[in-house]
Symmetry: C2
Amino acid sequence: MALSKRLTQRDIARLAGVSQATVSLVLNGVSGADSRIPAETRDRVNRVIRETGYAPDPVARRMVQGLNRILGVFTYEPAFPSAQADFYTPFLLGIEEAAENLGYDLLLMTAAARDAFGRKRMFGESNRLRLADGCLILGGQFDGEELAQLVASDYPYVAVGRRDDVGGPVRYVGADYVAATATLVGQALAKGHRRFAYIGAPGNSESIMDRRRGFDGALKGAGELVHFEETEHGNPATQLASIRQSGASVVFFGELTEAAAFDEHARAVGLAVPGDISIVVLGSRPRFQQPERHFTAYAIPREEMGRQATAMLVRTLADPAVVEQVLLACEIVAGDTLAPPNPTKDSFK
Amino acid sequence: MALSKRLTQRDIARLAGVSQATVSLVLNGVSGADSRIPAETRDRVNRVIRETGYAPDPVARRMVQGLNRILGVFTYEPAFPSAQADFYTPFLLGIEEAAENLGYDLLLMTAAARDAFGRKRMFGESNRLRLADGCLILGGQFDGEELAQLVASDYPYVAVGRRDDVGGPVRYVGADYVAATATLVGQALAKGHRRFAYIGAPGNSESIMDRRRGFDGALKGAGELVHFEETEHGNPATQLASIRQSGASVVFFGELTEAAAFDEHARAVGLAVPGDISIVVLGSRPRFQQPERHFTAYAIPREEMGRQATAMLVRTLADPAVVEQVLLACEIVAGDTLAPPNPTKDSFK
DNA sequence: ATAACCAGCTAATACGCATTAGCGGCGACG
DNA sequence: CGTCGCCGCTAATGCGTATTAGCTGGTTAT
């Protein structure tokens, strides 16, 4: 029955003894009192539709209506292997939940063409953006040029994560790293820390710069940055040596994995955390959180970001003129790796 | 530039001084020697395309070609909340990886209509299946009627997970629960167990029945099933009491969470696992695996299932006549919860 | 010289649907 | 009795593309 042979409205029309236009009107026209199609005809058509299991072709529909009820999801890094999956999954969960509630399907644009450097490109050979009504963009490393092109175009989009202007304001739902980082610095100051270390990933993406801005801003005048390091896979031993020499009593990490490695090493060589040295993590990835270690950190509301970005995108479809920018607060995770500095150890400088 | 105003082939044609058909031919026609369009014209058109950033509308393309390079993903249960996510994510990772390699985008059909009972339906009011070239179906609880409809139709699909015939063979990539379960039963027998308990989820879905078939088949004649229980959230205390009374020396669990609860309780009341009682789990969910407890179990190759199902679907698009059925082997996880029975305790029966 | 042919293009069509203009028939109204 | 207006429907059109048939002008074969 069902899909065999691909039914069209013409088939339905023939079976019901009406014209194709009438079928379409029955399907989409107002069904109220001011309808121009009487209940009798309407019922006849509907009966045929039910009996045959006809369903309109969404593609043809889109051709004429211009909309699809599809939201695209473009990720600059693929969502696998698993390490990436941990990063993307929370976003996607939020997006999926919101999309389901709003009645949209999601198009994961995994097939995007890559440029000469192997990076995925939105505006490539086969620009498939138009398959969706609009799209969400995820990823740590945005391509500035592509983003600018998007901003300049009339294509509805929302970035997940704050983005600097590129020839115009970028529509985004981000997390307020600046405020959250500043809060944690404030807590460290309140506990008496004055000498700070900062170890973060290199790069100048917004997420990295926001952490640094929050850190610098909150520290200004009240504390001193005595060790600064940009690294992705640092050597904990080297880091510890530098930090001891600098006299820092607390280390801020941009990456949880870095912090975990450092923590393990520090304790292995007999240092107490946070007794001898405090550790603060700026953000976290749920799965990497070891059960026995609760770092003082903040939680990035990834699911909520996904949900709100999706909702914003749908709003954008209705009113493309508005450019919203939303920053969500991060929840501070108290943890147990931030304590007052150890006055004794402080002297080993 | 780019997307502003939505360029069409007609625009390109006008700018290049040719007809729309020529533009289309330049884009899709053979570019070799037997092309009927000379390099000069070809270059002129290509230049305009490059300058304007034109990209063909995939929807219009689909209208005429019938294909989209989109694979649908239909899940009967939504992928959130997180508990479900742990179940679906590995499948999706495999699917995404394969889809990317094959050059297909993925359409997550989250917006599917629901029936009176709140269950998602593929063939509902708005059947959007045709948006994709074919689709993958995930979920523990398939709707038999819908599956039959799918099998009867000419719509390309592949089920992830083995499915019984419904008016015809179902195209699937599944895991061989029967064999894996039988292997574990064999190991228990080899260690000397003769009295078995089985605690699994209720229902008659293929995955549940396959475990049971593997269990029964391997046990036949060699051991005795002295306790059988169907439950989703069982009471460990009650379970333990029944099992002690039955004299079973090993318990097979269909669900990891059930096993974990039972294990915890057993040890809390002073029983040794596996010293006094062995535990075997039929399958597992990665994330729930506690670090300190490694159950004897088997691993369901979820990512690989996703990959192979995707590949099979793409093969189906090329040759819709063939119905493949693939069962992947599960890897046996030795673990440390299966040991020879304790002859002393055995007497408390 | 005329037919046959070929290269290089274009006109026309179809895909399935939504939408608009409009047609035939009938009752109401002047 | 003529006209207006409304009801119930249909014909026609367009969305952007791929594709096929075919046109035009020039060259070659007969």
